[in-house]
Amino acid sequence: MSTNPRVQSAIPGQPAHFGSVMAQQPLLLGRFGELYGTFWSKGVVDHRTKEVARMRNARVTDCGF
């Protein structure tokens, strides 16, 4: 795994992070934001359970970000 970003930020002045790299494809970023934002802001599963699952998934995937 690379320790340096492989794709540059599309937002001037911002480092390469999830949002600024996804901004290379504004349409995708917008539609992802609608979906992911809805997942977190509404729903039938409580926030705590979602967060525990998110953290566990990050650990299993070994995703330090």
């Binding site: 492989r6 996804m22 995708l28 539609r31 609608e34 979906l35």
Partner: protein, 166 residues
């Protein structure tokens, strides 16, 4: 047999299950459908990567779907499992398939060299689109397998905001 029933809407199994959350279903179709509705990448490239990831997951339900507009000739489709040893694929397709090959089970081992080869053929906008597409192909297989959803053979666009989600 799926572990719990899907909704009763008239749709392929994958969508009947997602439709338990209609709002998420609609937004997921919009997001996933972007690749085909807005032609972010060549359809043939999307199709061969989608198929390869489904093969790596041994996901029959995903493999039953075939995009006719990708215009993948049968010999080339049949060569996908052995793409590394086949002369049917262009250097750009091989660079994309190399990333797809590692996406489900070996994502940490995608090397700088493999990424550099990808960058020889695709610009950064295309690389972002391809990487997100691979992540969704991977996720779709996981969803189908975790819920043990049955597949139905279909020659159709895999995803679209306006059409069914296969």
């Amino acid at each position: 047999m799926a572990w719990f029933p899907g909704t009763t809407i008239e749709a392929p199994a994958f969508e009947r299950w997602l439709a338990h959350r209609p709002e998420l279903n609609t937004l997921y179709k919009r997001f996933y459908g972007t690749f085909w509705d807005d032609a972010l990448l060549p359809r043939s490239l999307l199709e061969m990567c989608r198929v390869r990831i489904a093969q790596l997951h041994d996901c029959d339900a995903e493999l039953l779907v075939s995009d006719p507009l990708a215009e993948l000739e049968p010999p080339k489709r049949e060569a996908i499992p052995l793409w590394e040893h086949s002369e049917s694929f262009s250097p750009a397709e091989r660079a994309a398939l190399a990333i797809a090959e590692k996406f489900p089970w070996a994502h940490h081992s995608i090397s700088d060299e493999e990424h550099a080869e990808l960058a020889n053929h695709f610009d950064e906008r295309q690389i972002v689109a391809l990487t997100v597409a691979l992540a969704l192909f991977d996720a779709n297989c996981r969803l189908r397998l975790v819920f043990d959803l049955e597949g139905v053979a279909a020659e159709t666009t895999p995803g679209s905001a306006a059409g069914p989600l296969h």
